[in-house]
Symmetry: C2
């Protein structure tokens, strides 16, 4: 009945997009519901109709934006090639997807590092593990190609995720552009640490 792209300009999507931007700029706790609905040009009951609470809004945000992010990373694991090649592609894709969704990505990193008993951390925790599992899957599939790395899959996934996250965090803070972040010598620096 409706193949049209209605789904792009609904109030629900406007709320998600505005919440994402505000959470990125100032953080989940610092942004009030009123501010979100003002930015989206609607009123509170509309937000509480779609998402049952502020917490529910964050959960939906993480679910829709986050799984899209992880999906793109998972596709990269399927590909075949030498360890160094697939690693290089994986790192490139990770940074590429992260920079393309810079605001969501930084928001997610912030949530992953939030305080233990913070409401936002509790919502983000499953995705922190999902990301870790995706990177672990990558190493479980490919580390077997290099004897020295066998058995180190857990550490390697923590280490790679840590390096890339901090690399992006610091260099976004420095105002570095997507193109520079993806330059060959920068990718190569990261790759070289894992060969």
């Amino acid at each position: 009945m409706n193949e049209e792209n209605k789904y792009e300009h609904t109030n629900r999507d406007k709320i998600l997009a505005c919440a994402q931007k505000l959470f990125y700029e100032r953080g989940y706790d610092a942004v009030g519901v009123q501010e979100i609905v003002d930015a989206a040009g609607i009123t509170k009951p509309t937000m509480y109709h779609y998402f049952k609470s502020k917490h529910g809004l964050l959960e939906n945000l993480l679910d829709e934006y986050g799984n899209q992010f992880l999906g793109e990373l998972e596709k990269e694991i399927e590909k075949d090639g030498s360890y160094e090649d697939v690693l290089r592609n994986f790192v490139y894709t990770y940074i590429s997807v992260a920079t393309k969704n810079k605001e969501f990505y930084l928001m997610a990193i912030s949530l992953f590092s939030s305080a233990r008993d913070n409401e936002a951390y509790i919502a983000a925790k499953p995705y922190l593990y999902k990301l870790l599992f995706v990177v672990q899957d990558f190493f479980r599939k490919n580390a077997s190609k290099v004897e020295r790395l066998v058995g180190k899959e857990d550490f390697l996934s923590i280490s790679l995720t840590g390096v890339i996250n901090y690399y992006l965090l610091v260099n976004f803070e420095r105002g570095m552009s997507e193109e520079v972040l993806l330059e060959e010598h920068n990718i190569e620096d990261i790759v070289n640490q894992f060969v």
Copy 2:
């Protein structure tokens, strides 16, 4: 007149200690001033007497606890030895100091990853850079011993900090103890990535 350790049980220190604990548990924005002063067993005007605002409280907290943390790391840079030896000691000291001040350390990591325009991030930013500079100093002094690493000091410092931070974040989350975190094979895994 007073060589005694008065300075450990003053209201000021009680406020700092309680704020640190609460910020660690639930985050700066999620914790109200009232809750802090209740935990410290005093009232608001006392807090506003010592620190001019909630923001000022955080600044003092970072200044006193943070500089102590960085000081212990800086001492390690002075020491001499082969690249691999000083690196191993540096990593060991970093993790050791971080685990001994686990609550403060996790709070700091959380602040470093906070949203750009968040009040807490603005207070933490100088210390994010200070930490980066300390690690950079380490590599500027020692990377010269290994030709392959010369010129990579900036990347190396980001990378090492990223690995250790994420290593501690994930393994604290997993409930891993200080002893395990400092086990030789775990330290060696990290060190091996930087030789």
